[in-house]
């Protein structure tokens, strides 16, 4: 997930590459990892900042729809679990901002771009979580789609990004399983609970499919990113894998995927399925989804309301350091 429509720099043909660029591409083709201070084409650096930044923003904005349910979780255990998951997401954001920072941009600069709308986060978090079943659906489908994307990114060519992905993937599996656990409980519960689970699946199915980004034929940024191994699989490949993995899980729950065209295709050994409504996707990306204003508003408010606290801690740290320095001088 998490990085959709990342603008890449123009693709150069092999003949157009400078010797330095050629040598760089050769390293990537050999499967070598690129590390922070090493030479890299400006386009590689810029595309990575956009992609990792968008990914980081998605992690922290993704806390909002779930954080919304921490105080209303049905049991203390569920509350503790959800709290742990939402804390994990903050950590994931932190790993990714740090990876982006190795490319010469600061975290505050990235946050400023999120807050002024010039950088995006995943479209999925602009949908509301209306009831407890939605928390199950988010863990199962949204984190499930995120894992599908992030597993391949463990092999990405940029070292710090790859290492962040490895850490994140270890934790993400807990997220998906806790979501599925909620769905099982609901689907095996009363008729009303099962209906809630079905309703959550109905609402989250297509937005989850959109998480992989537009169809390959409309995805103008993929070619260069794949040559640089910033991206490993195409959007459609990942979407197909996600559907193939998720359909049997829905069947186990006794829930119905809301797609009349869903059908096993023996020839391709995968499901045929309906595309999401891409005009809706572009509307949500453009800022017109059900919760865009609420999400960004909550982010900006948290950032601004926290400013005095961040400044206070820094002032305290500076004073303490000055006191220590003075004590050292006095002792000498």
């Amino acid at each position: 997930m998490y990085a959709q429509l990342v603008k890449s720099e123009g693709m150069k043909s092999a003949a157009e590459l400078s010797p330095q660029e050629r040598a760089f591409q050769d390293r990537i083709d050999r499967g070598e990892k690129i590390e922070p201070k090493e030479w890299m084409p400006e386009g590689y650096r810029k595309t990575l900042i956009r992609q990792i930044g968008q990914h980081a923003h998605s992690e922290i904005v993704g806390q909002l729809p779930e954080g919304n349910w921490i105080t209303r979780a049905p049991t203390l255990e569920r509350k503790a679990i959800l709290l742990a998951k939402v804390q994990d997401e903050a950590g994931h954001g932190l790993y990714l901002y740090c990876a982006a920072e190795t490319l010469g941009v600061s975290r505050d600069q990235l946050l400023a771009k999120l807050h002024d709308g010039s950088m995006k986060y995943s479209s999925i978090f602009n949908y509301p979580t209306l009831n407890w079943a939605d928390i199950g659906a988010v863990g199962w489908l949204v984190d499930g789609a995120a894992i599908m994307n992030q597993v391949q990114l463990q092999k990405t060519s940029y070292g710090p990004y790859s290492r962040a992905m490895i850490r994140i993937c270890k934790e993400e599996s807990f997220h998906q399983r806790q979501g599925y656990d909620i769905m099982m409980k609901m689907a095996q519960g009363t008729a009303e609970q099962k209906a809630m689970a079905q309703d959550a699946l109905d609402r989250f199915w297509y937005p989850a499919l959109m998480m992989f980004g537009p169809s390959d034929k409309d995805s103008v940024h993929s070619t260069q990113s794949m040559a640089w191994k910033i991206k490993i699989n195409t959007n459609d490949e990942l979407r197909q894998k996600f559907v193939d993995q998720t359909v049997p899980q829905a069947e186990y729950l006794g829930l119905k995927i809301p797609d009349p065209n869903l059908k096993w295709n023996e020839e391709k050994k995968g499901y045929d399925f309906s595309e999401p409504d891409w005009s809706e996707f572009f509307e949500v990306i453009a800022g017109n989804g059900p919760c865009n204003k609420e999400r960004l508003g909550a982010r900006v408010k948290a950032w601004e309301d926290g400013a005095w606290f961040r400044d206070g801690l820094l002032a305290h740290a500076e004073k303490a350091q000055a006191r220590r320095a003075a004590a050292r001088v006095a002792a000498e």
Partner: protein, 94 residues
């Protein structure tokens, strides 16, 4: 206008007897909070028994462009490896 908290590199000893290893970085106003934040972010699942933090700006690093001059000299010194020497079988394990 807020100024940004400095960046710290985090090193964790995974188990007793092992070295501290670099696990990532974070922002914190001072060393004390850097350790607390590192505890909260990097040891959520029993990953460590000890934490070091050091300001990123205080780390001196070799430059990638020096890779050749720094590391190639050891390539030709194969006698630094025990396998360079052949010990007759009669002598037994050495």
């Amino acid at each position: 206008m807020s100024s940004e908290w400095p960046l710290w590199e985090v090193f964790i000893r995974g188990q007793h007897g092992l070295n501290h290893r670099h696990v990532g970085s974070l922002h914190a106003p001072d060393a004390e909070l850097a350790i607390k934040n590192a505890r909260d972010v990097y040891t959520r699942r029993n990953e460590g028994v000890s934490i070091w933090v050091v300001k990123s700006v205080d780390i001196a690093a070799s430059s990638p462009s020096d890779k050749g001059p720094l590391f190639e000299p050891s390539n030709s010194k194969v006698y630094r490896h025990p396998t360079f020497f052949e010990i007759p079988e009669e002598v037994g394990h050495m």
